[in-house]
Symmetry: C2
Subunit: 287 residues, 2 copies
């Protein structure tokens, strides 16, 4: 019988911990605060923003939102980020993705103060990931996968893991996090010649491609653990990278879509706002 790895209990546990830290911070006169920056009105961006605001409210983090139209001069947006970097009452900055055309991810990434970069997209935080320097802030989706694996006591040390997808937002940072956890990691992607050669011998298959129903039962070995980071739509239904109905009959454990990794990402964002706030308070004390 397959074990369904629900994201909700993971998110709930994280949020409970975060709520406690928020209380601790408030008791020393620090109210952790997040600023969300959104450019344009992409539907998925708005939905994710709402989900993030809901979690922040729940755990007691203050949220403010800055919204720009896609025709805003880039300098105006960059100045707004600079102001948030300077603002002593803001501990975390979240710039919603996808970004509108004409603004590159790197431009935004290099603008945000790394200490407020709660979605881990600045070069400095990505580099700390490579160093396994735990003072860094990690990208939320890869960290959400790690939280899920930890919650369900899935052993990573020495495990054979196949990550599919090598984006700088999910696949590559996730590969690094798994290496830091001492797993053996294969990273596959659109140029991989023989995907099954890798997936079939993996104890854990993690797919983050956005290619609907890419992973079939033929891709996995019996009793594999299958983590689906995809999010797409087919025949009007939300679905992931994995043919859930068929793969669940072969896997030992599987995440549903929706309801798997998704709900954990916003909990990770909240966790990282309080981490950033703690760092801010500690540095203030030391100066």
């Amino acid at each position: 019988m397959v074990k369904v790895l629900q994201g909700k209990p993971v998110a709930e546990k994280l949020n409970k911990q975060t709520e406690q830290v928020v209380q601790d911070l408030k008791s020393i006169q620090c109210t952790p605060a997040l600023a969300i920056v959104r450019i344009g009105d992409d539907d998925s961006s708005i939905a994710y923003e709402s989900a993030a605001i809901k979690v922040m409210n729940q755990v007691g983090i203050e949220v403010s939102s800055l919204t720009f139209s896609t025709d805003t001069a880039h300098d105006v947006i960059f100045s707004a980020i600079d102001e948030l970097n300077e603002d002593q009452n803001i501990h975390g900055i979240l710039v919603m993705q996808p970004l509108p055309e004409g603004i590159s991810r790197n431009e935004i990434a290099e603008r945000i103060d790394p200490e407020k970069d709660i979605d881990g997209l600045t070069p400095s935080n990505l580099g700390k990931l490579v160093e396994n320097n735990l003072t860094g802030l990690w990208p939320s989706t890869p960290k959400a996968v790690m939280e899920l694996l930890e919650f369900y006591n899935i052993e990573l040390k020495g495990a054979d893991v196949c990550v599919i997808g090598s984006s700088p937002i999910v696949g590559k940072p996730l590969t690094i996090l798994l290496l830091n956890a001492e797993a053996t990691v294969s990273n596959c992607h659109v140029h991989t010649k023989d995907l099954k050669m890798y997936t079939r011998k993996a104890d854990i298959v993690i797919s983050a491609t956005g290619s609907v129903h890419l992973i079939t039962p033929e891709h996995i070995k019996e009793e594999a653990i299958v983590i689906d980071v995809g999010y797409g739509e087919r025949d009007g239904e939300i679905c992931g990278d994995v043919q859930y109905d068929k793969v669940e009959q072969k896997a030992a454990a599987i995440t549903p879509v929706p309801g798997g990794v998704g709900p954990i990402t916003t909990a990770v964002l909240a966790e990282q706002v309080v981490k950033a706030a703690w760092t801010f308070v500690t540095e203030r004390k030391n100066n």
Copy 2:
């Protein structure tokens, strides 16, 4: 007949290119300059420093050396790095490794100005690697491997590559560089359960463990390409991670040790000093 992938012609080609850029820089009144910082007198450190100085002299880069005894107060060392960061006549800073006990790699990494970090150890440069942001400076050994693969026209896109070793200096950054080049990459290490399962299906095996003669003919498939980044000693002879004498009979191509990747690393350091100097000149012009 195995093809021996000598490092010397790769280094020579790089050095010739670098020498040309040095001439170009000098013609616009910029003499690229490297400062080497060494703490203690570790033999391998001194040897590597000499090799680096030789290459810098050859291509026309100025070199100055700062040497500290291992009992120097850390603040003195950090202040020296701060001064080099500020010095407008220094374009590259190379802190020799291994570092003496009590100073962590991360402390040094976070101190060096990323724009002078010609051995790519700062978080910001490692993060740019993850982003595939080409304004960054890369760690010299992983970049040396990439230069060797490029020189010998070894196709990476879609190739099955197995990297053995997952240090933040070689294994992990090399894995990322190979992913950026669109190879499928498996990263194995001391916790890997079944190394041969990975190495045997790899088109390219790259070993960077320092474990002498780890890789035997049983590890590779016929006609594999074998890159040896190890450097050790057995029976008084310098050798690498690969049982060269036996593996060369099965491989299509193989790097010797010494004489393979090693000589390329110092050429990469010189290349990155001029890259840093170019960035400095360009920024000066724009300001």
